[in-house]
Amino acid sequence: DVKVTQSSRYLVKRTGEKVFLECVQDMDHENMFWYRQDPGLGLRLIYFSYDVKMKEKGDIPEGYSVSREKKERFSLILESASTNQTSMYLCASSPRQLGDTQYFGPGTRLTVL
């Protein structure tokens, strides 16, 4: 069964803290993605990676960075968390072939106080 896992379901951090969100997929997918999901705004792409050590900015990369040292793992880093980064964060993976869909993790609800 297809599996994308995220390290935490809920996370509470303080302003200024460094935050790591981890995502692991077991499907040998080339592509991995980080989104944030906010009411009324839908899913917005933060970063994506199409191969190990490769990354591209999405639509809202400011305040975030990513790391992909291994094919199965894609990390999202908030260098200095701010209250406007309180959100639901979704990780997804997909094969490279056209027509193939994305598979999503359960999400991490991050609250920054």
């Binding site: 009324g40 899913l43 792409l45 994506f48 199409y50 999405g58 997804a92 869909t101 993790g105």
Partner: protein, 110 residues
């Protein structure tokens, strides 16, 4: 600019009534179109994609390139269809990015 527009934030229908969730897109080329669904307390999952031309859980969606639309339809809504629905687009050349709409919450009333 590449864009996916879902004009309705909330759509309420009665059980047994037809449903149409609207999706319009802007893309210079031939995109792939998808509908994703998120049921309460579940992860986002694929509902259907235009290249499959399939019906899933009674839902269908036809890609209309002239109107740049990919509306999701079901003739008779069920209570279990209540969920958040997202339309998404993926380019077919040079990018692996998906672009999502803002979502439509469907509520099916008993």
């Amino acid at each position: 600019a590449q864009r996916v527009t879902q004009p309705e934030k909330l759509l309420s229908v009665f059980k047994g009534a037809p449903v149409e969730l609207k999706c319009n897109y802007s893309y210079s080329g031939s995109p792939e179109l998808f509908w994703y669904v998120q049921y309460s307390r579940q992860r986002l999952q694929l509902l259907l994609r235009h290249i499959s031309r399939e019906s899933i859980k009674g839902f269908t969606a036809d890609l209309n390139k002239g109107e740049t639309s990919f509306h999701l339809k079901k003739p008779f809504a069920q209570e279990e269809d209540s969920a958040m629905y997202y339309c998404a687009l993926r380019g077919t050349s040079g990018t692996y990015k998906y672009i999502f709409g803002t979502g439509t919450r469907l509520k099916v009333l008993a």
